[in-house]
């Protein structure tokens, strides 16, 4: 790996300045994605801007009837937080499925968002919860955050500061389907909310996405219609982890199950 400069900002404002002024700088949080890509040479930034030690990015607090989670708060902090457990148990459930202790101690919501993997396990939960991404300069609804394969709405040097979950996040339910319980990258991830009707998925398209057709049916109270519509809302592919056909079938089964619509077989 060619030598990459390492910059330590004092605070978020300093980090924004460093990211703007340094050509090809990448913010680094827990490193669970970026350090792998650096070592493999699939990304070649000229500088890393370390966000991990910034206190402004840590912490979990109440906000507007919901909860606000610092972008640099690790999953282990989310799992241990009674506040998140109360306001969005699905996010706790999703965080528990990410890697294991080593990854949960370093991986962050800000990193999961910025990395924008279609398989990011928390991302469907954030979509189903109508979460809002707070950056150093504005707020972005998560529904508008993923604009293409691993592309986000973030501008140059824009840094994610926190994620806000509104009061309705409490009703979100979550399921991950992978090869094994720990250390698995998902084949399908699904999060649903009844009210408002939200159905969001990961690993079934080039971005984490909301299933708009299925949501429209669910909003009408048509659960069977939602399950049927899901098949054309998603665009899964065959890859090393699964096949398109399997993903479509499992996504429909899991949705049926999460909406508790299936007759007991």
């Amino acid at each position: 790996m060619p030598d990459v400069a390492y910059l330590q900002p004092r605070d978020v404002a300093d980090a924004v300045r460093l990211c703007r002024e340094t050509p090809d700088a990448r913010p680094l949080a827990g490193g669970t994605d970026l350090m792998v890509m650096l070592h493999a040479g699939t990304v070649r930034p000229r500088a890393l801007v370390n966000l991990w030690s910034l206190r402004e990015l840590k912490g979990i607090r109440r906000a507007d009837g919901g909860v606000e989670i610092g972008a640099g708060e690790p999953y282990s902090g989310i799992i241990a937080s009674p506040l998140v457990g109360e306001h969005c148990p699905a996010l706790v459930a999703a965080s528990r499925t990410i890697g294991a202790a080593q990854i949960q101690n370093r991986g962050t919501l800000g990193g999961n968002l910025a990395n924008a993997s279609p398989a990011g396990d928390t991302l469907p939960v954030l979509l189903a919860a109508d979460a809002v991404v707070v950056t150093d300069r504005r707020t972005i609804p998560v529904a508008e955050f993923f604009i293409g394969y691993r592309k986000t709405a973030l501008g140059t040097g824009e840094i994610i500061v926190a994620v806000r979950l509104p009061a309705g996040a409490r009703g979100v339910r979550f399921r991950k389907v992978g090869t094994r319980a720990a250390q698995a990258i998902s084949k399908v991830v699904l999060a649903v909310n009844r009210d408002p009707a939200r159905i969001a998925l990961g690993s079934v398209a080039e971005v984490p996405l909301r299933a708009r057709g299925a949501e429209a049916a669910l909003a009408r109270g048509d659960v069977e219609g939602a399950v049927a519509a899901l098949a054309s809302d998603i665009r899964p592919i065959d890859d090393v982890r699964s096949t398109a056909d399997y993903r479509r079938a499992v996504a429909q089964n899991v949705l049926e199950d999460l909406l508790d619509a299936s007759p007991r077989r």
Binding site: Y6, V36, N50, G99, A101, Q102, N105, A181
Partner: protein, 149 residues
């Protein structure tokens, strides 16, 4: 960069964007920390940072500036005797080829520090980030359970 390594102060002049794993093994010659997958899947490179188990292949060296790092070389008791956990690994046959052992010990150590009386399920969850291709895990879990206090 400065940090505490296995209880002693360390001051190093290295590129801070390098992996902590490489700095430990190559610069500090602490080769007890192993590299398995290099992508955070296998846990062979597990170390403790401020008491929390992490994969040192995913940490930039500069990120431990001011922190306390413990590797397998730091697990033995001050008088040089093996820790009860290390002793239990030997007595229960929890090590075979040995590549996963340092990481297993550190993950188990962190678990027992946080939860001195884990259930078998809690041990399995606590060690879920450490892959072993020899033992089938049973002996490892037995060894950790034997160290409950």
């Amino acid at each position: 960069m400065r940090f505490i390594l296995n209880g002693s102060r360390v001051s190093l002049d290295v590129s801070s964007s390098r992996r902590l794993l490489d700095v430990l093994r190559e610069d500090l010659r602490l080769t007890g920390t192993k590299e398995g997958c290099g992508e955070g899947e296998c846990g062979a490179c597990s170390v403790l940072i401020d008491g929390e188990v992490v994969n040192s292949c995913l940490v930039a060296a500069g990120q431990v500036d001011g922190c306390s790092v413990v590797t397998v070389e730091g697990l033995a008791l001050p008088d040089g005797k093996l820790s009860p956990l290390q002793q239990a690994f030997i007595e229960r046959g929890a090590a075979q080829c040995g590549i996963c052992t340092p990481g297993m010990l550190l993950a188990a150590h962190a678990l027992l520090e946080q939860n001195p009386r884990p259930s078998e399920d809690e041990v399995r969850v606590g060690l879920a980030g450490n892959l072993c291709r020899c033992t089938g895990y049973t002996k490892i879990i037995d060894a950790v359970l034997a160290c409950r206090t």
